[in-house]
Symmetry: C2
Subunit: 367 residues, 2 copies
Amino acid sequence: MQTLQVDLGERSYPIYIGADLLAAPALLAAHIVGRQVAIVTNETVAPLYLAALEKALAGYAVTSIVLPDGEAFKTWETLQMIFDGLLGARHDRRTTVIALGGGVIGDMAGFAAACYQRGVNFIQIPTTLLSQVDSSVGGKTGINHPLGKNMVGAFYQPQAVLIDTMSLVTLPARELSAGLAEVIKYGLICDEPFLTWLELNMPALRALDQVALTRAIERSCAAKAQVVGADERESGLRATLNLGHTFGHAIETHQGYGVWLHGEAVAAGTVMALEMSMRLGWISAAERNRAIRLFQAAGLPVVPPTEMTPEHFLEHMAVDKKVLDGRLRLVLLRRIGEAVVTSEFPREILDATLSADYAALVDQLKN
Amino acid sequence: MQTLQVDLGERSYPIYIGADLLAAPALLAAHIVGRQVAIVTNETVAPLYLAALEKALAGYAVTSIVLPDGEAFKTWETLQMIFDGLLGARHDRRTTVIALGGGVIGDMAGFAAACYQRGVNFIQIPTTLLSQVDSSVGGKTGINHPLGKNMVGAFYQPQAVLIDTMSLVTLPARELSAGLAEVIKYGLICDEPFLTWLELNMPALRALDQVALTRAIERSCAAKAQVVGADERESGLRATLNLGHTFGHAIETHQGYGVWLHGEAVAAGTVMALEMSMRLGWISAAERNRAIRLFQAAGLPVVPPTEMTPEHFLEHMAVDKKVLDGRLRLVLLRRIGEAVVTSEFPREILDATLSADYAALVDQLKN
């Protein structure tokens, strides 16, 4: 088992990474303060792992709350089911909420923990690669609003994160690829050697090689922890983690939540950010193509939906959280391994990026 | 104008107390960071003060969100109206939310500010005496749940609080009395000389003497700031602010939100806490009667609803936030001017307190 400490002063916490951690009750017990525990999971994950977790929590008063599965349910109505479950079983302010599932479960259970009686203990057990390398670090919780993703939420740190690498065995291949989009992102924004490692190990990762997966998760969490530790409230450096997310969120919003997986939208969105970085003269066409090939090797889409016009993108990006006082700020690559957040770009470059023919670009790469 | 600094390290903020502060734009401008402002108010307060505030905010992009009035509307559905208003007008994360109204508006606007895009700037302009002396300090925000008051919320500090003492001129007398219940509470829990001052000045306060009101508000906020500054997260000392609230919440819950005003329930609940303190031998009958007479002089009820049985109280108190691991903790008076939080009391004393004949007790005082 590997332990990574996320250093946030009083709110520091450990991330445990290893096989079969669900069957390690002592690890959980060390982070539970009272006698009450509420497990929040969903209809897909519950049949796979809920019984094992409940067994590990024998001796506690456990309430299991099973939510419907999917980003479409990341709403207040579903969140209310958690509050109903907590209040129905009379959980007091010393209860511990455990998120067992992917990013949606983590976001909702974390937001519920942040708000229930103004804040109770929270432990994350992420079961998808995306949530393991993304939601494990950063303390972002929240729900969607009909007018935008993650518009209602809180920064709330867990007591601990348990990553059981064996849980990836039951993960659909498409979701594994979606998680790899974020893994690749860390290489692009701050760790060029990791990018090279990923190019060599992509086949092993997709074949669920446990050693390769453990290394990729650890390196991803460490990269994110370093960025978040330096800038917890997302003013500058932390925003570089959003490489591809502004374009990606526009894709997700336009297509409707859940049609594209988050990681898929991030992959296509990152390709757009790379295209724009190239048009600014910051990276070469070869570097852009290198990243596109890696996304393809991970089984990810690299072309935004063909029906989306530049106007669609602009419309959806205007309420993006990275818009400050009306100025659009984007995360771009100054070079491979170094991201910057900037609103200093000619409007024509943005327009050219939004109207570029990505399908033709990808076709070219085949030759 | 008096300025009281609430000392919370990085999250410290000033409380400005004085007449006609709504007409002092510079005071507001000092605490607004971006160009966008959202005023959250209700149907009762809007006709009285919204135009003046909007005038003071000339030059900003202002969105005014007018909610229905009352504790019954302290729900997610109403909170959603704030998010709809913010997103509809495309407020970004540098927006400032201003609460203009009583405690319900402050709690909801503050919780909306805490959650909108995971936290935006927040300024409070409390217009009722209760919210001026209670919600101004402590950072508590939130909404009710059908199964309990304030069960969903956040600790979130404002950038500043503006208390315009002139706003009390339009406050119904019953609500002024409800605010005085909390003012009296500060004397009981930590400031015996203030209690004596209140006994002398109660007629002036009820006659809206501005000098007396300013002094009472300042002293109340200072008392609360001292307690909260010493213990921001409500583990020990801060809980003493809840004198009368455990019994009072049971009364509010049983009667249905809004039938009794919060301050009225706190007054009757505090009488129960005093009765229990007396039965424990901590205060004398004369001291209990002194407090009852002061509540009466403030125009407050001192007898819990006659239809409430001891069982009703126990049922409603069992999910109270002050219940830790199933043990009921109560705020009681060790002596006048010193409150303690304790679960160390014989069950019989609690039962006797719940079944005491408060109507007969008050009748006796008339003689």
